[in-house]
């Protein structure tokens, strides 16, 4: 964000505690010092308010980055982020775009309880007019964030509290990662595992275990949900002839179901087994640590699904 803000004076950051406190999760550390209170702005506890205000300023040509302390809190801003931002360009006949990045932590964060553990991609990916990026590692976080900020449409950038502490190589130099371009995290021949965001790590863990049992998995990290990189996914399934989708949202009408549907439609003759999905169980995120792990997609569930589609169960 700071690199982009140095490059483009139209960009500013607003949200709860983003300035003085350096962000509730210290994501904006040092930004107030560098850019001052004009461009890094603390907001009252009023998500609908500052989301709506960001829309107005974007219509005037600014490029706001709106931090939701948690995407769970974006639910009270549903009207501006779903009913205004993704439709403004359409409803104004092309006159007013909304180049806004809405960002924050998404998904179960580690015993935050059910009201603070929303996987909003399950809800929001249904809405056209917006884009959704969901990085799984620090390298992607930088490259996708730069693309998100430069994008002329509203982008929902879903971070994960659980991934904030992971380490990875991030080059100092400039790079961007295009939207709709998946990464193959692990090559394999027996089964394609499609995932994005935090569950990619569960998929990698499962693939590691399965490799020891002689099952070779190809793990695809979608990186963005809207747009989705169908080309990479279909090509992989045509090679492995089996597919498991791992998605941390609830299963009903989720991005994971969309992948299952598209793969079934486009790779029907290539599949040796119907596509299986691994989701969070249909209960609110539990507070208890053991139950939270149990509710989320986890390596155990993924391994079971892969064994089923590869007839190794």
């Amino acid at each position: 964000m700071s690199e982009e803000m140095r490059r483009d004076a139209r960009i500013y950051l607003l949200g709860e505690e983003v300035a003085q406190y350096n962000g509730a999760y210290k994501v904006s550390r040092g930004m107030l010092d560098e850019f001052g209170p004009r461009r890094v702005i603390d907001m009252p506890i009023s998500e609908s308010g500052f989301a709506g205000m960001a829309i107005g300023s974007a219509m005037m040509g600014l490029r706001p980055i709106v931090e939701f302390m948690s995407w769970s809190f974006s639910l009270v801003a549903a009207d501006p982020i779903l009913n205004n931002a993704p439709k403004m360009l359409y409803m104004s006949g092309g006159q007013f775009g909304c180049p806004i990045v809405f960002r924050g932590n998404d998904g179960a964060g580690g015993q935050l309880g059910s009201t603070h553990s929303w996987c909003v991609e399950g809800l929001y990916s249904n809405v056209p007019g917006l884009k959704i990026a969901i990085p799984s590692n620090p390298y992607d976080a930088k490259g996708l964030m730069k693309t998100a900020i430069r994008d002329d449409d509203p982008v929902f950038f879903l971070e994960s509290e659980r991934l904030l502490s992971i380490k990875g190589e991030v080059p100092e130099e400039e790079y961007t990662i295009p939207f709709g371009k998946a990464a193959i995290r692990r090559e394999g021949t027996d089964c394609t595992i499609v995932s994005w965001g935090r569950p990619v790590h569960f998929a990698m863990e499962a693939a590691e275990t399965l490799a020891k049992e002689g099952i070779s998995c190809e793990v695809i990290d979608g990186r963005t949900i809207r747009p989705m990189d169908w080309t990479t996914i279909f090509a992989s399934v045509r090679k492995t002839n089996a597919c498991v989708v791992v998605d941390q949202s609830w299963s009903f009408a989720s991005p994971g179901s969309e992948v299952a549907a598209q793969v079934s439609e486009h790779c029907f003759d290539d599949l040796d087994h119907p596509v299986l999905r691994v989701h969070s169980d249909d209960v609110p995120a539990p507070y208890a640590q053991n139950l939270e792990q149990e509710m989320l997609p986890n390596p155990r569930k993924i391994i079971a699904a892969v064994k089923k589609v590869t007839y190794r169960a």
Binding site: P44, M53, G56, A58, M59, G61, L89, Q95, G97, W230
Partner: protein, 373 residues
């Protein structure tokens, strides 16, 4: 320690040309020169006639739901006149007169209510945002627009319009809170027409004025006779001067009345007393200006007849232009979904399949047909 008063406030109500046509020469001095008053009068008459025609278009199936402006012409018009040409007008949906004064051709409004998004493609140089049909959302947008002006070091302010009912929405309270706390030059212009569709003002706000809602957020608040174009112009002009100079928000409550139904989908006779409507008809913003113009020897019946003929011609020409615009095609609705159309939406458009990705272009033959034809 005895108790002490820590806050007192009062709300000033301004009236210059009252409902009986009496003009306060002192307060009204230099508010609107006669030549401009003639222009404003013409705008109100034209807007009123458009209302009549639009109502008939809806009843005869040539237009969708339409909200008549009747009775409220002076509010948005007075504001548009008092503001700079490049200050933002951020309307809800009953501000035709102000939008037309700003320069929006009538066919845009007609096209919009005929159900065509292109009616909302308001030219950027007019500094008007699209009509906002959900109640209250535009107040936050206005606050953001004015915030962006301040950010860029411009002197542009924003004026957003809404009704008494919208002040019950959280959006109003959040926008007011931001504007006041962040020193944003935005005018909150409430058109208190006493009815939120069928819900009377008393249920929206039990305080004696809507204006005092702004006091709670620490902004200056004023009330004026919204059917008095002079009072509206003076109030908005003073508010704009203050907002621009001090970079502060202002709340204005213009007391007016919706003489027509909420929209053509409503029948106000079911919930309003005819006596109340009749009383407000006497307070019509157009009547009192006509009377004043006549008193000043600027107007007479033959001028009135000529004006009627002129606006009829203009309105019917606008209807013709709006109806002459070909309906949008299915392909068009993908045009403004994204700055650049993503691949999956492009496939939906090109294959006419919305239920899924559809076929790839080569397989469905769409691409070869297109290149062949």
């Amino acid at each position: 320690m005895p108790t002490k008063t820590v806050f007192t406030a009062e709300i000033q109500y301004l009236s210059i040309l009252n409902e009986h046509g009496k003009f306060d020469a002192k307060l009204g001095k230099d508010v609107i020169p006669d030549k401009d008053l003639l222009v404003l009068y013409e705008h109100m008459v034209r807007c009123r006639y458009l209302d009549e025609v639009a109502f008939k278009l809806q009843r005869s199936g040539r237009m969708g739901t339409y909200p008549q402006n009747m009775g409220q012409e002076a509010t948005s018009l007075g504001a548009a006149y008092a503001l700079n040409k490049d200050d933002w007008l951020v309307p809800c949906y009953r501000e035709n007169c102000g939008l037309f004064y700003r320069g929006l051709p009538m066919e845009y409004i007609l096209l919009h209510w005929m159900g065509d998004e292109r009616g909302n493609a308001i030219p950027r140089e007019l500094y008007c945002t699209p009509l906002a049909i959900p109640i209250g959302t535009q107040m936050l947008h206005a606050t953001g627009l004015a915030w962006a002006s301040k950010y860029r070091g411009e002197k542009r302010i924003a004026c957003t319009f809404f009704g008494d009912g919208a002040t019950s929405e959280g959006d109003f309270h959040e926008a007011a809170n931001f504007a006041a706390n962040l020193d944003i030059p935005v005018i909150f212009f409430c058109q208190n027409n006493f009815w939120a569709i069928s819900v009377p003002g008393k249920i929206q706000c039990s305080a004696p004025t809507v204006a005092q809602r702004g006091l709670a957020y620490g902004m200056d608040c004023f009330q004026c006779d919204g059917n008095d174009i002079f009072a509206v112009v003076k109030t908005v002009r003073d508010a704009a001067k203050y907002a621009r100079a001090k970079s502060r928000p202002v709340f204005i409550e213009a007391v007016t009345y919706r003489l027509g139904d909420h929209t053509t989908a409503d029948d106000a006779r079911r919930y309003r007393d005819q006596a109340e409507v009749d009383m407000w008809k006497q307070r019509d913003p157009i009547l009192r200006v006509r009377q004043l113009l006549k008193e000043r020897k600027l107007w007479n019946d033959s001028k009135e007849a000529a004006l009627k003929e002129k606006v009829e011609k203009e309105v019917h020409a606008a209807v013709e232009r709006a109806e002459g615009i070909a309906a949008p095609s299915r392909n068009d609705f993908f045009d403004h979904m994204y700055a650049e159309l993503p691949e999956d939406l492009r496939l939906q458009r090109d294959t006419m399949q919305t239920h899924s990705l559809g076929e790839v272009l080569e397989e469905s033959g769409v691409r070869s047909q297109e290149s062949g034809g």
